[in-house]
């Protein structure tokens, strides 16, 4: 009897923890964003600065996700298929962007490409300014989300039956055709899943971006930095309104992903 009571209260405690920690804050944001009614919400969201920030974020995140799709596919392929010196080292290194504090990641990119570095100066001298401009933001996003595509593709590549490829060769298909028709379709779920994850993470990224994004509306002011600015200037309602849009977008992505690919979400 006593044990059942204990078990029951433990279960309730866990569920309560879950509800309070995860569900409640989400409701708080939606509540605050819509607290003054539809009209002010709409005004906050359609404020030119907010709109620009949201649109810019979506564009840059999409670009970063696509770049990662290409780089990640190549990396996963080489890491799984080829044996070469340094392979294990590189394979461990893939996770570094996950393990590294994002602010440190941002600082690293700032230092590498910034006005004080050799590379930054060289690029500036040929007319390419990167830091405090959109390219730097994309680079930061690519850095932070690099592991997603690689880690989503690797298990699929390992599971791939080499006999399937060989079957394709014996049927007369060239290497390129085999890659396109036999290998790529098998990788597609992982590729899409990884790219979507990278996209949603890039949408949300703050730490790596805040140090290298300027505050130029429509050019370098991304949504998360905009929200931060609104919080800093004691405008929680506007912050919440933009957050609602960004959150809804992220949730839609998350649920699409779960619906499409089942349980393949990573960190």
């Amino acid at each position: 009897m006593n044990q059942r009571l204990l078990q029951g209260s433990l279960r309730s405690l866990v569920l309560l923890y879950f509800a309070v920690l995860v569900a409640l804050p989400v409701f708080a944001v939606y509540g605050k964003g819509l607290s003054l009614g539809w009209e002010p919400f709409w005004q906050s969201v359609t404020h030119p600065l907010a709109l620009d920030a949201l649109w810019l974020t979506v564009q840059l995140a999409l670009l970063a996700a696509l770049i990662n799709a290409a780089l990640g596919t190549l990396t996963a392929w080489v890491l799984v298929r080829y044996c070469f010196p340094g392979r294990r080292f590189l394979n461990s290194l893939v996770d570094l962007p996950f393990a590294l504090p994002t602010a440190v990641g941002g600082l690293m990119i700032l230092l590498l490409l910034g006005p004080n570095s050799w590379l930054g100066q060289t690029l500036t001298s040929i007319g390419w300014e990167i830091v405090y401009r959109p390219p730097a933001i994309v680079i930061a996003m690519v850095f932070v989300t690099f592991p997603f595509v690689v880690r989503n593709l690797q298990p699929l590549l390992e599971e791939l039956d080499p006999a399937e490829e060989e079957a394709s060769y014996t049927l007369g298909a060239s290497k390129a055709l085999t890659f396109r028709r036999v290998i790529l379709p098998a990788l597609l779920p992982g590729l899409c899943g990884g790219t979507l994850l990278a996209f949603s993470r890039a949408l949300a990224e703050f730490g790596a971006v805040v140090l290298i994004a300027g505050n130029l509306p429509g050019q370098t002011l991304v949504a998360s930095v905009y929200i931060f600015g609104q919080v800093e200037s004691y405008n929680p309602q506007a912050a919440a309104a933009v957050s609602v849009v960004l959150l809804t977008l992220s949730f839609l992505l998350l649920f699409t992903m779960n619906a499409l690919f089942g349980r393949r979400t990573a960190r």
Partner: protein, 367 residues
């Protein structure tokens, strides 16, 4: 002109000689069974024929054309993989049509060929299914149809029935034999199962430890195994330790042993098949100098015959006794008639018939 010719094929994996000096040839339209113990090099040989593995030495020609320099794409072969290797994300039809699309056939022609193969392999109604929605036997047939679709000159099958349960397997192998003879394509299939090879193949190649041990029709191989290994691998055989207990063969054995030792092989091995031993009660048969006295030490019912073990001197022999005869009992004294045995020394082999038996037959003929 042989359709497939293989000359002195060699392949090493590191220090392991997986295939060693294999040469053989196959005539157009034959179905060849490639048989041998696990790790014998069968898959390696097949993969070299397909161009999936590069030989260290030797030559392969298919249809009179040397293919050594050709990649698998251009060899005109069909390959059925052990676990089928169907394209998981393609339907049955897409799988079968793949090789045709690669060859850039016209749509109408592809359509017609696929329909033909679906009918031939009995897959009608399953066109739109994906591999994971098929049974093992159906997958096997899709793999077969896919390999056949581009009209290969040579069909290679690596343990096509390995992943299928025993009953379906029997049906499928008769089906396969029929199918191949109807299409008329020269085929090589790997199997572990000697019964399967004997039943299906026109000819059998036996490989062991990378070497080709013997090639011939199933009957030839059964009748005249070239090595002790084959004598035990195809059909059953009992090894004889001491030939002197088999008095009727002693003389022949000594003369062969002498011959062998002259040529430098002193080790003489002898085998006898259960089917060539006749066991009878004393009243069932006239006493003869061809037979030996023995004592029954074990009797077991085996469905189609009695499986009998008899002790003859120091040698225990295994024999069959038709069910039509009365069962024997343990400890009973019987007469054991050995019709023939196989002797091996080095590369040579002899089949020795029971001399008294032939003598006796001659006598009967004269009388």
């Amino acid at each position: 002109m042989h359709h497939l010719e293989v000359r002195d094929l060699n392949k090493k994996f590191g220090s392991l000689q997986a295939v060693e000096g294999v040469s053989f040839s196959v005539e157009q339209g034959r179905l060849i069974g490639l048989l041998g113990p696990s790790g014998g090099g069968k898959t390696t040989l097949l993969r070299m024929l397909a161009g999936l593995e590069r030989p260290d030495g030797g030559a392969i020609s298919i249809g009179g054309r040397n293919v050594d320099a050709l990649p698998p794409q251009d060899r005109g072969i069909g390959f059925v993989f052990q676990n089928y290797a169907l394209f998981k994300h393609m339907t049955v039809v897409e799988n079968i049509a793949f090789g045709l699309k690669v060859k850039k056939w016209e749509r109408a022609r592809i359509y017609q060929r696929v329909a033909e193969l679906l009918a031939l392999t009995g897959l009608i109604g399953l066109e739109r299914r994906y591999p994971h929605q098929l049974s093992g036997g159906q997958r096997q047939r899709v793999a077969f149809a896919r390999a056949l679709a581009p009209e290969p000159q040579l069909l290679l099958l690596d343990e096509p029935f390995a992943a299928i349960d025993a009953k379906v397997r029997k049906e499928l192998r008769t089906w396969l034999k029929e199918m191949i003879s109807r299409v008329g394509v020269t085929s090589l299939f790997v199997t572990h199962d000697q019964e399967e090879a004997v039943e299906v193949a026109d000819e059998i190649l036996i490989m062991s430890q990378g070497r080709l041990e013997q090639k011939g029709t199933p009957w030839e191989i059964y009748r005249a195994p070239k090595t002790p290994f084959i004598a035990t691998f195809i059909g059953e055989s009992t090894a004889l330790h001491d030939l002197t207990t088999l008095a009727p063969f002693a003389e022949a054995a000594v003369s062969i042993a002498n011959k062998a030792s002259l040529e430098g092989h002193d080790e003489l091995q002898a085998f006898v098949r259960p089917e060539s031993i006749e066991i009878s009660r004393s009243h069932e048969r006239q006493p003869s100098s061809a037979a030996l006295p023995g004592v029954v030490s074990h009797v077991q019912f085996r469905g189609d015959a009695w499986h009998v073990e008899v002790q003859v001197g120091a040698q225990r022999l295994t024999a069959r006794r038709p069910l039509a005869y009365e069962p024997l009992s343990l400890g009973e004294e019987v007469s054991v008639l050995v019709h023939r045995l196989y002797l091996f020394a080095g590369q040579q082999s002899w089949i020795v018939e029971n001399p008294f038996l032939s003598l006796q037959r001659e006598k009967e003929r004269i009388v």
